[in-house]
């Protein structure tokens, strides 16, 4: 089974800095970590490789420092990495990103399955998986929480929906976006780290991929961020005077008001 896993570097804290001009997240690589949903996607792919054989390629678009995270993925069982890194890719929305990633997929040279995290914890859009499947014109199943059966022709998956689950059978090639708890990501071993440090990671620019300049970066992004702001904390404390009995009654009234 030949799989491609899309991975994104996200800030390690929720205190992100925003670019005052483009209103997009400043990605300077400081304390960037791999999106936790993507870690589950990687583990799913590596698990499949271990059971059925094959190869796992990890794919990301980001600043040069993102190579560090792809090498970490190699240490956890991936075989090769492709990083799309070019100033021309900067400021991309999900549409431009999906197009760019599709070029990376072509660069990987053939696949039966693409795995993505259900969403990234910074943007929270959950759009990349479905949009990438759209560009590649392959079927897509989102929110997969279990792979029930897999052959070289088709896959049967369990997908979370409101109030229950769906079981779906899909022909390969397919793109799946996975829930975090589909599996437990492994830790790298010393041997894995040795491979991760030296294993093949190709860094590709826009021209090497023959990217259409109108479909990448800010130019290729129909989404324009007009304004970003940090929501103000909406909490205040109200002192409740009186005896414990009076305080309890007053508190009960307040609780009712809040729950209304």
């Amino acid at each position: 089974m030949k799989s491609i896993v899309c991975m994104k570097a996200v800030p390690s804290t929720n205190q992100v800095r925003l670019d005052p001009v483009t209103h997009t997240i400043c990605r300077d690589g400081r304390q960037a970590v791999v999106n936790p949903f993507d870690a589950s996607a990687l583990e799913t792919a590596v698990g499949i490789k271990e059971r059925l054989g094959g190869q796992v390629t990890v794919l990301s678009m980001g600043i040069p420092d993102t190579e560090r995270l792809l090498r970490d993925a190699l240490s956890r069982g991936a075989d090769t990495g492709i990083l799309l890194s070019d100033r021309a890719f900067a400021g991309a929305d999900t549409l431009a990103t999906s197009y760019s990633l599709s070029l990376g997929v072509k660069e990987a040279g053939g696949y039966q399955m693409i795995l993505c995290g259900k969403m990234a914890v910074d943007g929270d859009t959950a759009q990349i998986g479905p949009e990438l499947a759209g560009v590649l014109e392959i079927p897509c199943v989102t929110d997969v929480c279990e792979i029930l059966h897999l052959t070289d022709k088709e896959v049967q998956v369990k997908k979370g929906v409101d109030g229950g689950h769906q079981i779906l059978k899909v022909k390969l090639p397919v793109l799946l976006t996975v829930e975090k708890d589909i599996c437990m990501p492994r830790m790298p071993s010393i041997a894995g780290i040795r491979f991760g440090e030296t294993g093949p990671v190709a860094v590709k620019g826009a021209s090497e991929l023959a990217a259409d300049p109108m479909r990448i970066g800010l130019t290729g992004s129909p989404t324009q961020v007009i304004k970003t702001f940090t929501p103000k904390r909406q909490s205040e404390s109200i002192p409740i005077p009186g005896t414990p009995g009076e305080q309890a009654s007053q508190l009960a009234i307040l609780c009712k008001e809040v729950s209304r």
Binding site: V33, A39, S75, M184, R186, M187, S189, I190, A191, R194
Partner: protein, 530 residues
């Protein structure tokens, strides 16, 4: 002013600590500052009422379990009081009830409440906030421990292998004596002459102490008073198990956080390979800040716990072939140094019979958290197992050894534990600080008979460890549960010397009565001498 209150049933939880021992008391207080402490001490001193000191009650030797009298719980003395800088190093002043996790969080996030600090200390804090990250290196598993309690039993943790125990990081203490008078001790200012020590009270007046004459073991040690020739006076109070004074303020040294911290779990098929690996790592890897051990019994408890409790379901699976695990934590100045060290560790592992593929390396916060969960789940799961067994037979309680030996006895002591556990047919789980030859062998009694046999075995081990030049308590302190072992280690004569030392500071034997030695030891001892 904080009141002394009657010990009604609402305070029942203050009758016990993490050792699962239960005591009783007549009154309780929760002082909020030094003035409160001194006031209560003066009040109780008049009536010679015994006082048991408490913090987070996380101790494992029952030092905080009252044997009657008064309970002084210091958990409300939980303020961080100030910060000073000297020669580029930072020193933080805290009340004894500050919880370790609160200190760790405060330093890490650099969000300390400095409103009540002096202007100068606020300036130091501003400079501190601009500095790279710092940390407090003493890291017992139980982070809800109070810093006062940690100093009182000279607590340590995994990283004590490299950074030393609590003692190494306490640079100042304010101590209230049993009569309410105060001592202010700063490291490096007051030394004993041989075994004679002079202390000056803040109120005026000198105390001349005759220190016990025993030689302490050259191992990790939290057994009895710290005494040696020409010692620093502050060290007498660290590890004194709440028997010499009330620690009302501590000054602690903070260290710059290493740039790179990686944790490596190495799995072995044979225990002897793990020991060979440990010895080699100790010799060759200077960047190892912790070397920890988990045996088959401990790993099996985790497997069972994971299968039956959702709270433990996110534990990583350990393969069925695994017999034991060694965790090594590397503290390095750069990624390149860490990588070189990791590769060297891998070579040592392969030479010792392990495999580089059979390791977990935690290099980021997520993986570190996962590994820490694994390590901390071991004692937690063991306690849960014992609590279950206690429901069937109330006599059962965990029997946890806390003994250490010098480096050259590591093989011998492990061999002794294994041989005798087999001979006595006892279930056990062993983990702990193998880098310091300090293993917590936990006997898991299945019934009352196992419990009796386990206690018998501990007494045998205490004798053997003493013979090897080790300590009967390396980090938990002696408290009330390990008094008999302390006597095995030092002998009756030196126990009496310890009690006499206490009497010079606490003439009515008020503080921590029953900790280290029975309160009647002097009457018995001196009766015999006559």
């Amino acid at each position: 002013m904080t009141k002394v209150r009657a010990f009604t049933s609402e305070f029942d939880e203050y009758r016990k600590d993490e050792s699962r021992s239960v005591g009783q008391a007549e009154s309780i207080s929760f002082p909020e500052n030094e003035e409160d402490v001194c006031h209560i001490l003066k009040q109780l001193y008049k009536d010679k009422i015994p006082i048991t000191l408490q913090g987070g009650r996380t101790g494992l030797a029952a030092a905080a379990v009252p044997g009657g009298g008064h309970v002084m719980n210091l958990s409300k003395m939980n303020q961080i009081l100030g910060l000073r800088c000297n020669g580029g190093r930072y020193y933080i002043r805290v009340q004894p009830g500050v919880v370790l996790s609160a200190l760790q969080k405060g330093i890490e996030s650099k969000r300390l409440d400095t409103a009540a600090w002096t202007e100068e200390e606020q300036k130091v804090y501003e400079a501190f906030c601009q500095e790279p990250e710092h940390f407090f290196p003493t890291d017992p598993t139980e982070t809800s421990a109070c810093l006062g309690g940690m100093a009182a039993c000279n607590a340590s943790g995994a990283r004590s292998y490299y950074y030393g125990a609590m003692r190494s990081h306490v640079t100042g203490l304010r101590v209230a004596l049993s009569d309410g008078s105060m001592l202010c001790l700063r490291r490096g200012e007051n030394f004993a002459k041989g075994r004679k020590m002079r202390l000056t009270k803040e109120e005026g007046g000198e105390i001349c102490l005759e220190l016990p004459l025993y030689q302490m073991p050259h191992t990790k040690n939290a057994s009895g008073y710290y005494v040696c020739d020409d010692m620093d006076a502050i060290d007498l109070f660290i590890g004194s198990d709440g028997t010499l004074g009330v620690l009302t303020e501590l000054e602690l040294e903070l260290l710059p956080l290493p740039a790179v911290i990686w944790g490596i779990s190495c799995f072995f098929r044979k225990e002897k390979d793990a020991i060979a690996f440990t010895k080699k790592v100790r010799k060759e890897i200077g960047q190892a800040a912790a070397i920890e051990f988990f045996d088959e019994g401990a790993i099996e408890i985790l497997r069972r716990q994971k299968a039956r409790s959702t709270a433990f379901s996110s534990l990583l699976d350990v393969d069925a072939w695994v017999d034991c695990c060694i965790y090594v934590e590397l503290h390095c100045e750069s990624q390149a140094e860490a990588l070189d060290t990791l590769y060297r560790l891998g070579e040592i592992l392969e030479a010792a019979g392990g495999k580089e593929t059979e390791t977990w390396v935690a290099r980021n916060a997520n993986d570190r958290e996962q590994q820490q969960f694994f390590r901390h789940a071991v004692p937690e799961s063991t306690n849960m197992l014992i609590d279950e067994r206690k429901k069937i037979d109330s006599v059962i309680t965990k029997l946890g050894a806390d003994m250490s030996v010098p480096d050259e006895y590591l093989d011998e002591v492990v061999e002794m534990y294994r041989r005798s556990l087999k001979e006595y047919d006892l279930e056990s789980a062993t983990w702990g600080h193998i880098g310091n030859n300090h293993l917590h062998v936990n006997i898991l009694p299945r019934d009352g008979e196992d419990y009796r046999k386990g206690k018998e075995l501990y007494a045998i081990w205490a004798k053997a460890v003493t013979k090897m030049g080790g300590a009967v308590s390396a980090e938990h302190g002696v408290g009330k549960l390990k008094r008999a072992f302390l006597e095995v280690m030092y002998g009756r004569k030196h126990m009496i010397e310890m009690a006499r030392l206490k009497r010079q500071l606490d003439p009515y034997f008020i503080l921590g009565r029953g900790n280290l030695f029975p309160s009647t030891i002097l009457e018995e001892g001196e009766g015999k001498e006559k």
